[in-house]
Structure formats: C-alpha cells, structure tokens
C-alpha cells in the first residue's frame, strides 16, 4: 500500500466521467410488477386493460361498481400468495377473506358472498390446508360474508408455495353512496384509521427470520363494520382506500392522480408504531410504503370530518384514527409531506417493491 502523502493527486476529468445506458424495457416479468407501484400500473394499463376493454374496468378501482336489475353491486377479486402461510396476527386464510371484503368495503359495499379458489402444491400437508381453511371460514363468519362457491387445483411440487388462494366477492352498494377519487376536492380532510406499516413488517419478520425485539402482529381485519359506522354519519364520504400493496404512499398517490388534486400530509401526524419504525430504520425501508391489511384512508368533506373521525374512533378498528392531511389545489396529482422539522418532500409512488438498503 502506498503512503497516501506520496501519491500524485489523481487527475479527475470531470468532463470525462460517464455512466451506463438506462434499463428501459423489461422483456420478462419481475417481482416489481406485483408490488403495487409504477410497474404494476403499467402492466395493467399497457397489457391487461387494452386486452379486456370495457368502461367499468377502465376506472381501475379496487372493486368494480356495476348495475344489475336495479341494484348497484360492487364486485372484486384478489389473489393471495403470502409466504409464510401463517404469521403473527393472521394467515393466508384471514387475508383471503379480509382483503377482498375490504376491497368491496372501499366502495361502500358490505360483502355478501365470496368465491374461493385454492391452488395447492403437490406435497403440502393436508393439516396445513385444513388450518388455512378453518382460518378462512372463521374470518368469513367474523366479516359476515358467506363463501358460496369454490374451486381447487393442484400443481406439481416446486410450482407453488404450498397454498395460493383467489377470492372474489360481491356486495350491495347502499343508495346515495358514491366513493370515487374523482369526487375529491381541495379542502377534503385525509383521515387514516390507525397505525401504518404493521402487516408488512409482521410478515417480513417471520419470512426473513428477522428479530426486532418485540413481536409485531399483523393488523389483518375486515373493515366493513368501520365503513358502515362512517357512512352512518354521512353517505357523502368522497373516497376510501385500503392501503395494501405500496402502503399509504401508494394509496395517497393513486387518489391524488385520479382526482387531479394535490395532497399534503403532516409527517408527524402519520401514526407509525415504534416497533415498525425501528424495523424499517434497520432495513432502510419507509413505513409509508409498507402494506397494511386492516387500515383505511378516507377523504372526507371538511364539514363532516369531525363527526366521521368521532365515529371511527368509537369503532374498535378505528380507535386510533387521526387526521393526517388534506387535499389541496396546489401540485395537482402529487403528494407532499411536511416534515417534522418544517421542510417538505414529495411522496412518490413506489416503482416496484421496496428493497432493503445496504447501509
């Protein structure tokens, strides 16, 4: 090793510094296409939507609201591929019910019926299948929804993670309820129903064998009752979202872009439990981008905000509800956080999946 003081100063040719050509197109699916961010959106918009067509699909909501025989129905489907199958606070069976029930609830509908499709991997223990089924049944009873049809397929060993589940659900949208991001107007108050980032960290802690000092339990829950309590105050809520993949940040961005308003969030008002904040700090992740499975974000007309917040706090699943920000005229389509120190930053859609940082 040469002595640093003996070295000639390296001639850094600034003009000559170069960088690589960009990675613009991906010929194959990568995990980020399922991450709920930009890549997911492009997959839907560039491949699926043009193939299927249709005005209802073009709205790209978590649930479709359609009219049939004079009734307005909410219809939604979701697939569940979580690893591990059982995690603190829930299982793939709970998710398969609550995820779809919540997608319906975000359009104001109480889920009535579910379909349930199992894709089982050759070799998985029947006891595991039984436990998942029992969890799914119990979650359905808790949510007040009935599983009325189903299907089972088995794939060869090595072609699945034991159990995959798809559920689809149908529910009635009450008269006078119209929950769409397009209804958001500047001045709307943004409320979140509790602490964010819990589910994603709970699953990650088990999947990756990470110990964070305290057990973090998933917030997996069916939100139909909470939404009913909110609608009982006023049917004039503007939009609801359950911030699952991509977390709070993705949900706020989707609403901002679809509504054409800006969103301002007070960083210090967003509730993040210390265990989640610490786990994210260790891994270099942002809790605002971590999945939730028992939370909702509501954009509420200012005149109803206090009453809606009170009703949410009176419900067990909304007892920690807080106002975190508002819709604004400025920076349309963008979400901006006011930091605890008084600065601002843009809160963007995630590109694909969040990745743990090196240091």
């Amino acid at each position: 090793m040469s002595d640093i003081t003996d070295l000639p100063a390296p001639a850094l040719d600034v003009e000559g510094w170069t960088c690589p050509a960009p990675l613009r197109d991906r010929p194959r699916v990568v995990m980020g296409h399922g991450g709920g961010g930009v890549l997911s959106a492009e997959l839907v918009q560039q491949i699926f939507a043009p193939s299927f067509g249709g005005e209802v699909l073009a709205q790209l909501g978590d649930a479709a609201v359609v009219s049939l025989g004079g009734a307005r129905l909410a219809f939604s489907t979701d697939s569940y591929v979580v690893r591990p199958l059982f995690f603190p606070g829930g299982s793939i069976g709970d998710l398969a019910v609550n995820g779809t029930v919540n997608d319906l609830a975000m359009s104001g509908a109480r889920a009535a019926w579910l379909s349930c499709g199992f894709i089982l991997e050759e070799g998985v223990e029947l006891d595991v299948v039984r436990r998942v089924s029992e969890a799914l049944g119990a979650a359905a009873r808790t949510a007040g929804v009935e599983v009325v049809t189903g299907d089972t397929k088995v794939v060869e060993s090595g072609h699945g993670d034991g159990v995959y589940i798809n559920t689809a659900g149908i529910g009635l949208v009450p008269a006078g309820v119209d929950l769409r991001p397009q209804r958001v107007v500047p001045g709307d108050v943004v409320i979140v129903s509790g602490e964010v980032g819990v589910h994603g960290v709970a699953v990650m802690s088990v999947r990756e064998g990470l110990e964070f000092g305290v057990e973090i339990r998933s917030d997996c829950a069916a939100l139909g009752g909470l939404v009913d309590a909110m609608l009982a105050v006023t049917p004039d809520l503007h939009v609801l979202r359950d911030p699952t993949r991509g977390g709070l940040a993705a949900a706020l961005n989707e609403i901002a872009q679809a509504s054409g308003t800006g969103v301002v969030v007070q960083e210090r008002d967003v509730p993040v439990p210390p265990a989640v904040a610490n786990a994210c700090a260790i891994l270099g992740l942002d809790p605002w981008y971590i999945a939730n499975e028992g939370k909702l974000v509501a954009f509420v007309p200012r005149e109803h905000a206090d009453a809606v917040l009170e009703a949410m706090r009176a419900h067990p699943l909304g007892k920690d509800s807080v106002v975190i920000g508002e819709a604004v005229q400025a920076h349309a389509g963008m979400v901006v956080a006011r930091t605890g120190l008084g600065g601002t930053r843009v809160v963007d859609l995630p590109i694909g999946e969040q990745l743990p940082r090196i240091c």
Binding site: W17, A21, P22, G32, N278, G333, R345, V346
Partner: protein, 375 residues
C-alpha cells in the same frame, strides 16, 4: 430504540438552526460524504431550512451508486451461470449493468436471493453443498467487516462452495481525490459517522491539515446532521480546519479494533474504479491472496470483463458539487429512478434519486413529464 425520536426533535432542531443562522456570515460549501446523510437531509427537508449561505454538496458515499459498471456486469454473468445461488443485499438488484439487472437475471431463471447479512449467504452455502453460492460484497468500511468475517468463517469452516464478489471502497482516498480536483468547491466535510465507528478518525487529521478543511464526524439523524453543519460552519467562520467528532455516541477515535484487525487479515488495499468518477488510487479493498480460493472473480474467471460506459450522464459533476441534480437536462426525463442513466439515480441514497423522490416540487416541469399512471 426510542432515542431516535429524540434526534428528530423539532424544538432542538430549531435551536441548532438558529445557531447556524446566527453564526454564518458568508457562503460556505460543505460536502456530506455519505449517501445515508444525503437521504436524511433531503427526506427531512434539512437543506430547505439552512441559511442560503450554507450549500450542501452531496458526496460520492452511496455504495450502490459507485459500484463500477463492470463489477455489476461480472455479478450478472456469475448469477446467470447454472448451479449458482447469487446472494445480495436488496438494493443491488435494481442497479443496471449493461442492459440488464439482477432482477432480470432472476426473471430469466437465475437463482438470485436477497439476504440481510453475508452470514445468511454462508448458511445457504452450507445448506446447498452441491451448489456454488456467491455473495455480492460491496460497500464502504461499514459493510466490509461483516463481509470479511464471513470469508474468514468460510475458510475456517472449510465451506468450499462459498465465494464473494468483492468491490469494497474506502472513504478517505475519495475525499483526497475530490479535494485534489482543480474544480473542487468543497470547503468542509461532514464525515460518515458509521465509517468512522469502524475505522476511527486517525486518517482524517492529515487530510484536514493538507487541504485546510474542517472535517466533522457526523451521524445520520436530523439533529446529528444539523450539529455536524453547525460545527463545520463554526470552524469555517473562525478560519479553523480540525477534525471534530460530533458523533461521539458511536465513534471512538480508534474505531473498532477487532473489525479493523479482521479487515487487515482478509482484505488488501487496491486501486478501485468508482462508477461515475474513475479510478481512485488505493481506494478499495480486494480479498488478500490468502483468501483467493473464496474470490468469486477468480473462481468464475470473470476478471476479463471490461465494460465501456456511454457518456450520457453528468453524475460526475453532481458528485463533485458542480451541478445540482435537477440542473441536469436528463433529470426527470431521460433519467429517473426507474430508468437511471447514472449511478446517482439508482439508489435512494444517490443525490439524483433523492432529489427526484423528494424534491420534484422544485422542478415541476420534470415532474409533469414523468407523471405516473394510476391503478
């Protein structure tokens, strides 16, 4: 870990900011060396709160950003080989090599796995004795000790199917290279606290004296950074240039002797190219001859891979503080985190990515051009 909140206290931050505002009398340019500090500065809006006289220049201390393109290409080549399990920290998967990244390799059938520790890769090697397991060992003095320990363990335990692709870099030679550049505008440094927690501070007094710059060892929370800035500005205003440890809760002057001994045993100092910068003498580590059996570059014969980088990106100027990220014509248009033209847009610790993610309000035109679709 409740103490983290205390290092983000707005009232204490206000007091530090008041002190900085009261102290500064003329323009000063400080460089925060570490990408973690850059991320924290932009994320918390610290740069917006400092007096306009204090300019923060974002240094080359993002390990993801500065890993050379040819090393990424070597990683892609090794990860594509049949029978290989390629293990990496998460954020290296998105770094583009020539036309591909590790995500792409995984999509093409390569066995690429995200791990949280190099020891996880060693465990995978023990569990898969019929497979070659390779860990991507990159980063600064912070990640080098555990990587060194892992290679040491592999040799000690006789785990023959484990090797490491090493591209470690060292901070002090980079500071020297930056200060030696004729176009350098940096007048003071916030040194990376975590690097110093390993290496100590003994390499810095000579640099501070030779280049007449204050070097303040600084942590990563908002109050740490403000305190680092406060001390650096105070020195500059007084005409001083000493090494000051503002991160004493983590940094001892001698660093971590056990970690340094491990580095000494497993690695040897080498010249290292930095992506976007060029070769900096003595700025890297490679495995020493004693551990050559565990050197993936040697094992997979990828030493001959040489990659030419097209000149499309001005990240070199950004890393030098000659150009703010949003002043680059490609920022937010040709170059985004999704389609990075250069290293500084790749990782969230890169200056360009931090500006893109958190500062697009400052450059609304770019934001409008890159409107994201909605699902």
């Amino acid at each position: 870990m409740k103490y983290i909140d205390e290092f983000q206290d707005p009232e204490l931050a206000r007091r530090l900011l008041d002190d900085i505002h009261a102290t500064v009398t003329r323009p000063w340019a400080l460089m925060e060396v570490c990408g973690g500090q850059t991320h924290s500065i932009i994320r918390h809006g610290i740069d917006q709160l400092l007096p306009p006289e204090v300019e923060l220049i974002h240094g080359p201390g993002c390990p993801v950003c500065v890993t050379p393109l040819e090393v990424i290409d070597k990683a892609l080549e090794i990860a594509s080989r049949p029978g290989v399990i390629f293990c990496s920290f998460g954020d290296m998967l998105r770094v583009p090599g020539t036309g591909r990244d590790l995500f792409q390799v995984r999509g093409e059938g390569g066995d690429v796995r995200v791990v949280y520790s190099p020891l996880d890769a060693l465990r995978i090697a023990r569990q898969n004795p019929d497979r070659e397991v390779v860990f991507f060992g990159i980063g600064f003095e912070t990640t080098a000790p555990p990587n060194a320990m892992t290679v040491h363990q592999a040799r000690k335990l006789g785990i023959q199917n484990f090797s490491m692709l090493v591209s470690h870099v060292r901070v002090p030679p980079a500071i020297e290279a930056i200060m030696s550049s004729p176009s350098c505008r940096v007048q003071g440094f916030l040194a990376a606290g975590h690097v110093c927690s390993v290496m100590g501070v003994e390499e810095y007094p000579e640099l501070a004296e030779r280049f007449r710059v204050p070097i303040v060892v600084t942590g990563f929370e908002p109050l740490d950074i403000l305190e680092g800035v406060r001390r650096a500005v105070r020195q500059l205003e007084r005409g001083e240039h000493t090494v000051d440890n503002a991160y004493a809760r983590a940094v001892r002057p001698e660093g971590n002797p056990a970690a340094r001994a491990m580095l000494e045993d497993v690695f040897e100092v080498t010249d290292r190219p930095w992506r976007g910068i060029g070769v900096i003498p003595d700025s890297g580590w490679r495995l020493s001859p004693k551990y050559r059996d565990h050197d993936a570059e040697h094992r997979f014969s990828v030493g001959g891979i040489r990659t030419e980088e097209p000149a499309e990106c001005r990240s070199g100027e950004v890393l030098q503080g000659l150009l703010k990220p949003h002043e680059c014509e490609a920022f937010g248009t040709l170059c985004t985190p999704r389609t990075p033209l250069g290293a500084t847009m790749v990782s969230s610790e890169g200056a360009c990515a931090a500006y893109y993610l958190y500062r697009r309000l400052d450059v609304p035109a770019a934001a409008a051009r890159e409107a994201s679709p909605v699902v």
